[in-house]
């Protein structure tokens, strides 16, 4: 089972490495969306500092959602997904591998670049650290929930818009506590409670989401 997980992970990472453009595009999208906000609301530092957690987190949700289309669709098109369903290894493990590689490609880069963007919004150092930690815990949840949406809309017409419709309402708790943790640090109340709750969401999503995705994939491939 671990070997199957490693196989999916290595394969997906290799594929992504061969087509670096996709990963970079999602990252550039994140940077551009975040950069648009000061242009829209004005460059006043105190206002930007208040907005920063929400803006960064919403941009992260959108960037994560955009890359969901690539999670299962290419494998669906070239028949790999069918082979995965037929394989002796449990589908849940294979889905886990795909979700993990999706996070490594779309979530982790956001975590790494977020402090830089936070600096542009004049966030203090402790808030930057919390921002990184909250994204580190929160973005895997986005990948896990997103996988359910991606599997449900696999091969459906207009799936790009549809996946947003399905997944974004489910992202709400992560957004609230992700952005809330940074805001709480800035307000001086401490981010521990928010981060613990995010950790709870991660644990719950880790247990339930791969099963729901696997069920949705079976339905899609019937």
């Amino acid at each position: 089972m671990i070997r199957a997980l490693g196989w999916v992970l290595r394969r997906d990472l290799l594929l992504a490495f061969r087509r670096r453009g996709d990963v970079v595009n999602a990252l550039v999208f994140f940077v551009i969306v975040v950069s648009l906000f000061p242009l829209g609301v004005g460059p006043e530092a105190s206002q930007l500092r208040n907005m920063a957690p929400g803006v960064l987190w919403v941009a992260a949700l959108l960037a994560c959602m955009l890359s969901l289309a690539r999670l299962f669709a290419p494998d669906h098109q070239d028949g790999t997904l069918e082979q995965m369903l037929l394989a002796g290894e449990p589908l849940v493990v294979l889905v886990m591998g795909k979700v993990l590689s999706h996070w490594l490609m779309s979530g982790l880069p956001l975590v790494l670049i977020a402090p830089l963007l936070g600096l542009q919004f004049d966030l203090p150092a402790d808030a930057l650290v919390v921002l990184c930690v909250s994204l580190l815990i929160g973005t895997p949840v986005l990948s896990l929930i997103g996988a359910v949406g991606a599997a449900l809309t696999l091969g459906v017409r207009g799936s790009g818009v549809l996946v947003a419709l399905l997944v974004l309402p489910l992202f709400v708790p992560v957004l609230i506590f992700g952005a809330g943790s940074v805001g709480a640090t800035a307000a001086g109340t401490g981010a521990e409670a928010h981060l613990l709750l995010l950790g709870g969401f991660l644990a719950l999503a880790l247990v339930l989401a791969p099963w729901a995705s696997a069920a949705a994939l079976r339905i899609a491939m019937e």
Binding site: R157, G158, L162, L165, P169, I176, L208, A212, A215, A220
Partner: protein, 250 residues
């Protein structure tokens, strides 16, 4: 009721045998809904006393609160039938879930709309980012997502099952979303409005509200039965009994 002469609930799990049952029950539920709503509206407009603080404007509570109750309750019912459809693979359960979604979305919308109408005279604003309002809005998004997913998938069986998975994911998420939003609003701002601080309700007010809720409940059943009949006819249109049914009505 079945062919062996023994009564069985499973008899009605076939769309063909459920169709006449739904047709027979639907007018009764519709009549009950009309009577209860008429009684409820009479109590709410003429019997219930004027509120000491909010004056006459509070009377929208008789529509608002039952609609909000139904919006949440119907999502649970939808999740239940989705689950049954997914596990037992019964087509009728999925059809019922499909038929429930528009009614649920309707009540969610009514709850939001009447809430806005109520908010203007009492709070001075159409909308506040209060926990209840926000979670109700997200519930509306969940209903819309369910309907959009089912509408986008052409293959009927896949649409049923995909919708069922989504509804179940939503059922797990509703409490999480509800509490997140509640904590979020209490963390960000002192709750500007709270139902808990409202004065204890007069008995007639409560009675009116309960009767209205029952009326809405009966309406939901009637509307769902009517809609599920349409769904059955549409999906079974290739069968002989539907051809006979439609031919017979002409």
């Amino acid at each position: 009721m079945s062919k062996s002469g023994k009564f069985s609930l499973y008899y009605f799990s076939s769309p063909q045998s459920f169709y006449p049952l739904a047709g027979a029950l639907q007018p009764w539920f519709a009549a009950l809904a009309a009577v209860l709503c008429a009684a409820g509206l009479y109590i709410s407009f003429f019997v219930a006393p004027t509120d000491a603080q909010q004056g006459e404007s509070y009377r929208i509570i008789f529509i608002h609160v039952p609609a909000a109750w139904m919006s949440m309750f119907l999502y649970l019912v939808m999740g239940f039938w989705s689950g049954v459809g997914l596990v037992l693979n019964t087509r009728l359960s999925s059809m019922v879930a499909t038929a429930l979604a528009p009614t649920g979305a309707l009540f969610t919308f009514i709850a939001l709309w009447t809430g806005a109408l109520w908010g203007k005279p009492t709070w001075g604003t159409w909308w506040v980012w209060d926990a209840r309002l926000t979670s109700e809005l997200i519930l509306l998004f969940l209903y819309i997502g369910f309907m959009a997913l089912q509408a986008a998938i052409d293959d009927q069986r896949r649409a049923d099952k995909a919708g069922a998975v989504l509804a179940l994911v939503g059922v797990i998420n509703i409490p999480i979303i509800y509490f997140s939003v509640q904590w979020w609003s209490t963390l960000h701002q002192g709750a500007s409005v709270s139902m808990k601080s409202a004065p204890t309700m007069a008995a007639t007010m409560l009675l009116g509200m309960l009767i209205m809720a029952l009326g809405f409940w009966m309406y939901s059943i009637a509307a769902t039965l009517a809609r599920v009949r349409c769904v059955i006819l549409e999906r079974e249109r290739h069968t002989d009994w539907v051809a006979a049914e439609i031919g017979g009505q002409k």
